[in-house]
Amino acid sequence: MFSFQRRNVLRAGAAASLAGLSPLAFSQGKEPIRIGILIPLTGATSQFGATMSLAAKAAAEEINAAGGVNGRKVEVVIEDDQSNPEAAVRAARKLIDIDKCVSIGGSYASAVTSAIAPLCWEGKVVLETSSGADSITRLPHQGYVFRTSPTTSLQGTRVGDFAVELGAKRMFFMGPQAPFAQSYIDTISAIVAKSGGTGSGLIYEDKKASYRSEVDQALRFKPDVIVFGGYVPDTAVVLKDLYRAGYDGRRIGLSFGVNQKLIEAVPAEVCEGTYSLVPSAAEGSSAYKRLVAKLKVPGLDSYSCQVYDHVVMTALALASAPNAAPNGTTVRDHLRNVTQSAQGKLVDSPADGLKALAAGTTVNYDGASGPLEFADNGDVKGVFFRYEQAQKGALVVTKVA
């Protein structure tokens, strides 16, 4: 028995040393670099899960076709967070402890991100997130958290400004218990108050079959604009109950609640005229156009584009430091160097980025989701929003700003 084992060990050792010498594209003896992707494939926030998964795989394919990172293949390990913090923690543990991922991308619902963030910074793994709650980047994350989605205060500010633009005097917010709900109420109310109006809100439970009593409470405030902070399943029911109650004032939602899935889920008259603010992907950018063409889809949501960028940013950060150990700390320390370096060569694809880095040039990657410039706390700066309105069962873009 022993001799067999020894022979195998010797054989494996010989193969490994041969591989080290041979001029292959990927170092055969080395494990691939694993990038974790934790996304909602199921549950209340699952509407973008499928395209997020495709986008992550597309990024890895492009990176590997360009020769990988420092001679190593990258592999995305995709896990389902089930839109549920508890399931997300289990999945994140697997990605960190078993798969030894250098970063975790995707992470969409704020409750999910809040739950896994401590695991990431404790495990020295970079967390790239598409969540909005302000509380996330206030965590003591030691630089391990990068957020590519606009924060709740930024989104709330945009919603507040838009409500004022629509002439709102009495704003009422309705949303489920989530890390961002109260923050929305405060931000939007403050903006409406500044223009002479008043704001109020109600936080409800997200798994109800009827929101009649909550709608009654909202209508007692006599709002001229109602803002929805929920996800699709609860927003669908709230909208129906508002319609039944005869409310025909203005309605504004955010893209995680008012989107194409919602339009398909309720009769057209129920959401007619409802506005939605959508963090916009960089739709004019060549990175966006290339990704859309590669995935053969007519268009992509911002969140899937962000997941694509999460994979690319990690790969470029590691490629920019070929002599450092390929781990989360290296990603953390070099991520800004490849996305916001003022002198860097502007690149919009992982292939161009990897080629330039291999030639010793610094790069500045502008992704499919935007220019990817991060503040010190990890929040992304300079994002665009699309303003859409439900008209006869379809979402129509009214402006991009």
Partner: protein, 295 residues
Amino acid sequence: MLLELIQLIVNGLVMGAVIALPALGLTLIFSVLGFINFSIAAQMSIGAFAGWLVNTQLHWPLLPVLLVAFVVAGLIGVASDRVALAPMRKRPSSHMALMVAIVSIALNLALENALRFGFGSGLNSFEMPIARDVVIGEIRIGPQQMHNLGIALLVAVLLAAFFTVTRVGKAMRAVADNPDLARLKGIDPAKLSNLATFIGMGLAGIGGALLAIDTSVDPSTGARLLLIIFSASVVGGLTSLGGAVLGALLVGVAAEVSLLAIAPVYQSAVAFVAILAVLLIRPSGLFAGTAGVRK
């Protein structure tokens, strides 16, 4: 204040009506088979999907839609019971009811994920017009929700008639009362358990379809309400069919009226408190005993 209270009670009755049918199904299955079948949540979603398919593809109206929801959920209920739960029940053990209940949770997840595999996680809508509420005095009432209440009450009456008038219904009650004695009398509990599962899951299917017409169709449609349905059955006594309807209405009204005192975000705590209070004060349920008490 009084108007507000009345409105909350009306809203609670509406809410209760939606959960009354699945609660009836859960109660019926418990009465005859002696265990809580938690796969009722997935059967609600199955009923919702079955109804949604014939409504959107074949443009069938409400009543045939509900019939399809009943039959499809009933059949899948029986089939999955035969495959997953019946073999468990054949193993005599003092923990049998608990074991089968736990396996039914697994069955629930399997069925829900099968739906997800087949239809995706997205939300779907019935092709049915949505009616504005009728205002009587200052109280708003949803016509559609009143239909739900009417259908739930009608089904409860039909079931009551079935159990008191028909031979099969009486046999089911006999099994519910004392399975051994019923067997001595030549009643085959296995056959009746199929029928009870068919009717129980069929009711869940109708409940799911009605719920989905109000809300939306997706694989978690039923799962969202499982706790409150279970709570309604417990409050109703778990063996009384009338109790299940009353329990559902009571839990619905309690949950809505509680909004006067607590924030909406803690509402499902009311269902927990209802279960706890009933188990502590009157363990047999508020309305137990009208259709036979299982020992």
